[in-house]
Symmetry: C2
Subunit: 551 residues, 2 copies
């Protein structure tokens, strides 16, 4: 079923949210193919792209008032739904170069919410922000053996600068460990210079062939933390601390019940000793690696000669520093969309929603308008003063029904309706985005500031926990404990995650991937008690691993 | 005279600030040549650079405890002083690629203060943040004739991606007007889509040959605002509004008394109809263009076909939108250094200082230590709770005298000293960075929270205005009103700014540049009354222009 959302239609459809969708032919969603072919593998040339965009633009320009937008049902086609939500909620758009993405204001505001939270946590845990150049001499990438192997197929290279061919090609940063170590080597001499703990918010470039908005793009935004420590223990503690910061962020802010754990050797970051990860289950039950923290050991400090005089032996030995790096990117926004969204569109957890409450004034007769708009602006002022992110949609151009659908599609957690009767009774109607129809709608909430603010804050908290609770249930009902490879195969073929004891070889891990499409997402920190035998070999196993198909 | 600041020396130099500097041979500052050759024109290869850095590193590693750092006197050699301040205050460092810069935490914190202020102002004036990809198809740059002429010599080009030669070269964004218009064309159809007002915080790349940290680097950070409007009047109003935001920021936050005005045609941005600028006078009296706002007219909308159905004539004519763009970059940090710094190093205006107050505990006997440190941490807590950015330097490694010099060099506006006698009397000693020696030092300020907080806030405000006042006097005493070309030449040869009536041709403007090295910085908004005759031609002139040498 394809669910239609007629956005700029001027026909007066004042429908309740539960009946606001009409069926329509699936042909219609073909009118927005732009985000669809984003995920294609073909290296579409700019010229082809421009032509197709010009065509679209002409179509749009000929009927600027009757554009229609459509969101495919999530259950029908998860990928099409995802792209429709991104397009219609105006989260992102194509850039002109294949695989690049423009992050539009509403999508960027989610990123700003992520930044605001993490920046505070990073500073509380002793990190400072700074900025490293994005151009890295090609020779740097080659210094750490597994790093070059992992990254060289994905590099964008600058070969011409100021009209001249460069002597050495420059890599557009795919990650910064090499240039960071080049600088650390100049700043770190004594153990007193340690720990050195920095972070940068930056763009990075990886020449990916299969791209998908937010999830995997040629250029993306992220933060990358880089630290250097005097001992292996400190580095390990730091790597674990930062995956914990990410885990808390995911649970408390994004309402995503990620599973934190350790990557298998096969899945470890190119250049790391150990990679910790948070793995999230999307609405289609595929896993999304939503953040990683690497214990780099001495791999980069050896490659770049980052050394200190030993703590204990000042005059003699020098030793290489122990390092970590950790990152969360705009991919996380894709995770939020795919965790909480539904057929009606985006659903945002209140803590990171750019707009937490939208107010829709409703009037029929002209003489009602002034009173309703007055009440709207005073309610808005009250909520805004209380620190709630609130917007009122006062435009004359759209019907209330259109606005209901539009702001639901944009995922705003709470809607307040104010009509003439509400004005007379000094109350408002409040609807929850996460509870559709009448069940989510409460009439007669007093406009009295202290009552209204308390009610709204309470509901926002309730929605925040409810989204998390729902995601936890969904996750847990889709993880199957398996004790044999056959059981694993069944679970994966049903689209679920398989959790089972694992102590087999890298080759066997790769065989699972080849045969089932699933990879080890992590060895979760939370491990069942008792003795375990490897699901593949029957040998003793120390840990269970989680297998899943992933983005 | 070369002023020495012995930083990690362990000799106990417990000196008062006014006597803390010792003379030293000028040979010594040659030990920190790294930032010096940053400004060279030679395209130093990475390999040469690495060798020189390795040499330095070896030198440093051999005596990690006796590194000495030196700040050249500002009056002696302004450029050397500037580079010394940047190195010693740890604001920035070289990147491995010629002309690139690493912005270190203390320098980045100034950038964050700039971002925090401007972000609020941009949002208050109706702009949303978003993000455009940094890779721009080469063909885009060629679409606007004067734009390509202005930028093509400075481009960095990606020609290889994912191991393959690209069909079309990609430009690493030097500015985003072209890609912005490519997207605007897809989003703007009706005048209802206008105004469209966005901003992005991003890195940009310009292949400059003469570089200088912060002031001109191969890659830099900035914000770029981009707006589209229905009418020429609205665009003009927006361009003026944003130069006004920048002007207020410069005066109120950075304490830099910039002169806002209009650029001459010769100096107008490549692709703009009119460029507004804020021009700042540095400590060596050279001008720094510290921010610009462009009225782009319809230049880019014509090149990219960004059109709307006309406001008045819905069914017929389409018209091109009217646009602006405006930017402030990390160059501004260079402006702050060069406006306020003195022989002792950096001097930061309190409103943008990452650390507004540094507390130095002072003790001689071990039995005094605990009491002094207790008082230090409670004073720190009190100030921090009051929203003051405060740091205490409790380390055992350095003497108080060393710390005084260090934090003065870092430009911290206020220093609080707490010794055993202060603890007994419940008071502290407070010194101003901007008033050296005894005049800036006040004894016996009560530790009582309400008194102390009020005193500190008051002093910070006083320093903020004092820095601005001083910069205004300096600026005004170095601008000369001229009425002839001869007078202009004299003023410029004395290193001053020349202000005089101008209505001559572009050719004559270029001749002034060739003969004096000075350019028209702007036609200031503030114009003298009365009739004027052009200083060059004797013809009637509508406006005075300001001529100066510039960065």
């Amino acid at each position: 079923m394809v669910v239609a959302l007629r956005l700029p239609s001027l026909t007066s459809i004042f429908l309740s949210p539960s009946t606001s969708f009409s069926r329509r032919s699936s042909a219609l969603f073909q009118r927005h193919p732009r985000l669809r072919h984003f995920s294609g593998i073909s290296a579409q040339s700019t010229t082809e792209k421009e032509v197709s965009q010009e065509t679209e633009q002409r179509v749009a320009s000929q009927k600027p008032r009757v554009q229609e937008r459509v969101i495919t049902a999530r259950s029908e086609d998860f990928n099409a739904w995802y792209l429709d939500v991104i397009a219609n909620a105006e989260l992102a758009d194509y850039g002109p170069v294949r695989g690049t993405m423009v992050i539009r204001p509403y999508g960027y505001a989610i990123w700003e919410a992520i930044q605001d939270y993490l920046n505070v946590k990073f500073k509380e845990t002793g990190h400072s922000n700074m900025y490293f150049p994005q151009f890295i001499p090609y020779s740097f990438i080659e210094k750490e053996a597994s790093h070059v192997e992992g990254f060289s197929p994905e590099l964008a290279l600058v070969t011409i600068g100021g009209g001249k061919e460069l002597e050495e090609k420059l890599v557009v940063r795919p990650t910064s460990e090499t240039i960071v170590n080049h600088m650390f080597t100049q700043w770190i001499h004594s153990y007193r210079d340690l720990p050195l703990m920095v972070n940068q918010w930056a763009n990075v470039t990886r020449w990916e062939m299969r791209t998908k908005p937010f999830v995997r793009t040629l250029e993306f935004l992220w933060q990358e933390g880089h630290t250097a420590h005097a001992t292996a223990e400190e580095a390990e503690k730091e790597a674990l601390q930062m995956i914990d910061v990410y885990t808390k962020f995911a649970y408390e802010q994004a309402a995503i019940p990620v599973i934190p754990g350790r990557k298998s050797k096969v899945e470890t970051f190119a250049g790391a000793c150990r990679t910790y990860t948070i793995e999230a289950m999307m609405g289609d039950r595929k896993a999304l690696q939503a953040g990683t923290s690497h214990n780099l050991g001495q791999n980069f400090s050896r490659a770049f000669g980052t050394q200190v005089f030993s703590h204990t032996d000042e005059n003699g030995q020098r030793q290489h520093v122990w390092q970590t790096s950790w990152a969360i990117s705009t991919r996380f926004i894709g995770g939020i969309i795919m965790t909480h969204g539904d057929d009606a569109g985006l659903m945002l957890p209140p803590n990171i929603a750019p707009i937490q409450v939208v107010i829709i004034p409703i009037w029929k007769k002209t003489e009602e308008k002034a009173g309703v708009l007055d009440a709207t602006s005073s309610v808005k002022e009250v909520l805004s003063t209380a620190g709630i992110r609130v917007k009122s949609d006062d435009s004359d151009q759209r019907t209330p029904g259109w606005k209901f659908n539009f702001w639901e599609m944009k995922g705003v957690p709470l809607r307040i309706e104010i009509g003439p009767r509400d004005v007379s009774s000094g109350s408002v109607v409040i609807s929850r985005r996460d509870v559709p129809g009448k069940q989510g709608k409460v009439f007669g909430i007093s406009m009295e500031p202290s009552i209204l603010v308390a009610y709204v804050k309470d509901k926002l908290d309730e929605i925040q926990s409810s989204l998390l609770g729902r995601a936890i249930s969904y996750r847990d009902s889709n993880i199957v404990d398996v004790s044999s490879y056959d059981e694993l195969k069944v679970a994966i073929s049903q689209g679920k995650w398989a959790r089972g004891p694992w102590s087999a070889s890298d080759e066997e891990e790769l065989r699972v991937k080849e045969e089932t499409g699933a990879t080890i997402r992590c060895f979760p920190f939370e491990q069942p008690q008792g003795t375990k035998t490897c699901l593949m070999t029957g040998n003793p196993a120390d840990e269970v691993a989680i297998f899943a198909k992933s983005y």
